[in-house]
């Protein structure tokens, strides 16, 4: 059961746009919506951010690559491995600049923004390569790190003196939950409420959302606004979202993201809201519906938009890490949910839509890579099918994005390769298996994970738990050879993301 995609409609306005809402409801999408003070400030900030980015780009070649992915998709390890491999350059043979011997080296530089935490590369690498080797702790919120790459340009190859060129690469790592917040910018409170409640009633979410939906039955949007009631609803709603995120359900559509990843906003009144049944844009002032709607709008204005302006709108390239194997492990509902989440997140890369101001200051993400991570958890013979499965999940949304002009690719990567593919003889047939040390154990094991036979239908009906993907420990002695962390297809991912800038 796919979740219906976000209805396409003009952007919603701030809290004082109730009158205009009726105009919109009549379906006249051509009418330029009146711009509120909120919006003006928003556009002003975006234009300023854009101008500063442009100025910086004119002075020096600069690429900002966003790295995102839902919890446990392996963002931290990915960024650590990318940095380590770029610094050492020994395990990226398919990055064209390295293959052509034009890559002179890379160095870390102080990050550009003083108020954004720097990605703790050294610490994470220390954890990965220490004894005993361990996975780094998860990072929270936005992290940034800057690398300078030195390249000998291709066109200069045949000149006598070839001048080296520097390319600044900023890696911005942020929670995928925040990416899923961006579609909220296009939804007003009643729309979002209806959508969320509809979703919560579907299996397997109906079981997880029982308590919250019981609470919903007791309140109406018209009852007097009361902070305590709102808090109660928000707490129940948050508990439901957390349950969705747990390992065995592994659901992906989590909105709003700050409920589960509050960052600096823990306990802020801003987060004390939740969807209400029967919410309406004309809810009277002083009612619970109006209170919730105001907080929803405040959430958009002070959480989602600043993130959009400061980080997302300034990205040039984006990689979305997807824990596809986790979803396959969890079963069909997790996969369906992942499809919805991916479609939702892709909507944010659709540009050229909306008002002329939006177009003027629009995002510049022109390449998006979706990568199924932890590819080393399956045998190498299965990588093509993992990639195809992700490709199928993205199929619908992908056509639209390509139409809008951004290049999209899909791949299967492993930021740190901890297993080896081996073929075993089992009952007279050859099975491609992985060999590695499972998490929490000390000895190697050989695991047959189950083969994806049909990528368009990876979880066929009638077969219970067709897959068994396990987490593995980082192998001991990682990075001791000084060539960079062993990886799978990191070079091809980088080639797609930044290869053209290294030409």
């Amino acid at each position: 059961m796919a979740v219906p995609p976000a209805p396409v409609r003009p952007r919603a306005r701030g809290s004082d746009g109730a009158a205009a809402a009726t105009v919109n409801d009549a379906g006249s999408g051509d009418v330029v919506p009146p711009i509120s003070r909120d919006d003006l400030r928003y556009y002003g900030q975006r234009a300023a951010a854009q101008a500063s980015t442009l100025a910086a780009r004119a002075a020096e070649k600069q690429i900002r690559v966003g790295v995102t992915g839902l919890q446990r998709s392996g963002k931290t390890v990915f960024v650590t491995s990318v940095i380590d491999n770029l610094l050492k350059g020994g395990r990226l043979p398919m990055l064209t600049a390295i293959a052509e011997d034009r890559f002179l080296g890379a160095q870390l530089r102080p990050p550009p923004a003083a108020d954004v935490p720097r990605f703790a590369y050294e610490g994470h690498l220390g954890t990965l390569t220490g004894t005993p080797a361990a996975w780094p702790a998860r990072t929270r919120g936005v992290n940034q790190i800057r690398l300078v790459l030195k390249i000998r340009p291709k066109a200069m190859m045949r000149r006598l003196v070839s001048e080296a060129r520097t390319v600044t690469l900023d890696l911005v790592d942020y929670p995928g939950e925040w990416l899923l917040d961006l579609p909220l910018l296009d939804l007003d409170y009643p729309e979002w409420s209806a959508r969320t409640i509809r979703l919560a009633a579907q299996a397997p979410r109906d079981r997880l959302s029982q308590d919250w939906r019981a609470w919903l039955g007791q309140v109406t949007p018209d009852q007097p606004a009361d902070d305590e009631t709102a808090r109660q609803g928000a707490a129940l709603y948050t508990a439901y979202l957390q349950a969705c995120r747990s390992d065995d359900t592994h659901l992906s559509v989590i909105q709003p993201g700050r409920f589960v990843e509050p960052g600096d906003f823990a306990n802020a009144p801003l987060l004390a809201f939740c969807p209400l049944a029967g919410a309406d844009a004309r809810d009277r002032r002083g009612g619970l519906g109006r209170l919730m709607a105001d907080r929803y709008d405040a959430y958009k204005a002070s959480v989602v938009r600043p993130f959009f302006i400061r980080h997302f709108a300034r990205l040039h390239r984006q990689i979305v890490l997807v824990d596809l194997l986790g979803a396959l492990n969890a079963g069909a509902p997790a996969l369906t949910d992942m499809r919805a989440a991916l479609t939702d997140s892709l909507a944010s890369f659709r540009h050229g839509r909306g008002t002329w101001i939006e177009r003027l200051t629009g995002t510049r993400v022109d390449r998006v890579l979706f990568a199924a991570t932890k590819a080393d958890h399956v045998a190498a013979t299965q990588h093509a099918n993992v990639r195809l499965t992700l490709d199928t999940l993205l199929a619908d949304a992908r056509r639209e994005i390509r139409f809008a002009g951004a290049a999209i690719d899909v791949t299967a990567v492993a930021a740190v390769k901890c297993t080896r593919t081996v073929v075993t003889d089992h009952d007279g047939r050859q099975l491609a298996c992985v060999e590695g040390i499972p998490a929490g154990r000390t000895d190697k094991t050989v695991l047959f994970t189950g083969d994806i036979i049909d990528p368009s239908d990876p979880i066929p009906e009638g077969i219970e738990r067709p897959y068994r993907f396990m987490n593995f420990q980082p192998p001991p002695g990682l990075g001791r050879d000084g060539r960079g962390l062993p990886n799978i297809r990191l070079d091809q991912a980088l080639e797609f993301l930044i290869g053209d800038h290294l030409a």
Partner: protein, 343 residues
């Protein structure tokens, strides 16, 4: 992709294997190296594939005429043998010393002819082996499976044994290859380490030939001389390019190669030909307006360049990877720059 039943959804023979943990002490085989069955199948397949077109080709001519020629050749050979025997006999009749000298000379001639014949055959064989290897590599790359790349790489290794400097390249490939690479990726890495350096040399040879041809025809006083220069320089370039890739055709092989190049000019991976021909013609006519001789030189140079690129396609033992095919744009830029440098 809609589920219209084009995909085989039936479980593999013997039922779908369940995920399970196996005993590490189980007998295991590494994916990349030891798959003797697959290797043997690979080694057997391409030979058969190569035989078919080679065997089919000569039959396309006139068999009657072929027999006639062969018969005449045999008659001539028999006559030559008689003549030679008579010659030796006459030399011995005149003096023993002369007889020994003449028979020694005759023996030397026979040895040289046989050597040339064997070389020719070997050159043709290499040409054919290169074709087979390329076809095989194309198939393995298209399939992008696992375990077949090693066979292609091994054959490429023997094919390139004429180059002394490949050991380092093979070591590079070895350090970079992991069990996670599929055949397409493995062969891409192999190609990058082994063939791309050769490509660079071959491209250099083509550019040089194009420049020489252009310059010489621009300066030569007569059209006949033009033709001679173009033919001689093109032949030399083809030999040079072929030699770089490890194909060393003798005269017959070379004629065959050039014939193929000419017929391949329109196809053989030169999808750009039609487009470039138009652009070249425009550019050429512009130059011709400035100076007929220079224009002619440029056109001849471009023709040589195009033949050279076709030769690269025809002699390379593996297909060009994405973005690795040589382009004519660079050569044209070079040629167009030339008049400024010369005059």
């Amino acid at each position: 992709m809609t589920a219209t039943g084009t995909i085989d959804r039936s479980p593999p023979p013997g039922g779908r294997p369940r995920p399970m943990e196996l005993d590490p002490a189980d007998r295991r085989i590494d994916v990349l190296d030891d798959r003797p069955d697959a290797l043997a199948a690979l080694a057997a397949e391409p030979a058969a594939a190569a035989e078919t077109p080679a065997a089919a080709q000569p039959r396309q001519g006139w068999p009657a005429l072929g027999w006639a020629v062969a018969g005449i050749a045999a008659l001539v050979a028999v006559a030559l043998c008689f003549d030679a025997a008579a010659l030796v006999a006459r030399a011995f009749a005149a003096s023993n010393v002369l007889g020994v000298a003449v028979s020694g000379l005759l023996a030397a001639v026979v040895v040289v002819v046989i050597r040339a014949f064997v070389d020719e055959l070997r050159g043709l064989g290499r040409l054919r082996r290169g074709d087979a290897l390329r076809a095989e590599a194309e198939r393995v790359i298209a399939r992008a499976g696992h375990g077949d790349a090693a066979g292609v790489a091994a054959r490429l290794k023997t094919f390139l044994d004429h180059r002394p400097d490949t050991a380092v390249a093979w070591r590079t490939v070895d350090t970079h290859l992991t069990d996670a690479h599929d055949d397409r990726e493995s062969l891409y890495l192999v190609e990058g380490a082994l063939l791309v350096p050769i490509d660079r040399d071959a491209y250099g040879a083509v550019v040089r030939a194009a420049r020489d041809t252009a310059l010489a025809t621009a300066l030569s006083p007569s059209a006949v001389l033009d033709l001679a220069i173009v033919l001689w320089r093109t032949a030399r370039m083809t030999r040079e390019v072929a030699g770089l890739y490890g194909v060393r055709p003798g005269p017959v092989g070379q004629v065959r190669l050039i014939r193929r190049l000419v017929s391949n000019l329109a196809v053989a991976g030169l999808a750009e030909t039609a487009h470039h021909a138009a652009v070249d013609a425009l550019g050429g006519s512009l130059a011709a307006a400035v100076s007929a001789r220079i224009g002619q030189g440029l056109i001849n140079g471009l023709l040589a360049a195009r033949l050279g690129v076709a030769a690269m396609h025809a002699c390379r033992p593996m297909p060009f990877g994405p973005e690795r095919a040589p382009n004519l744009l660079g050569i044209r830029a070079e040629l167009l720059r030339m008049p400024k440098e010369v005059f």
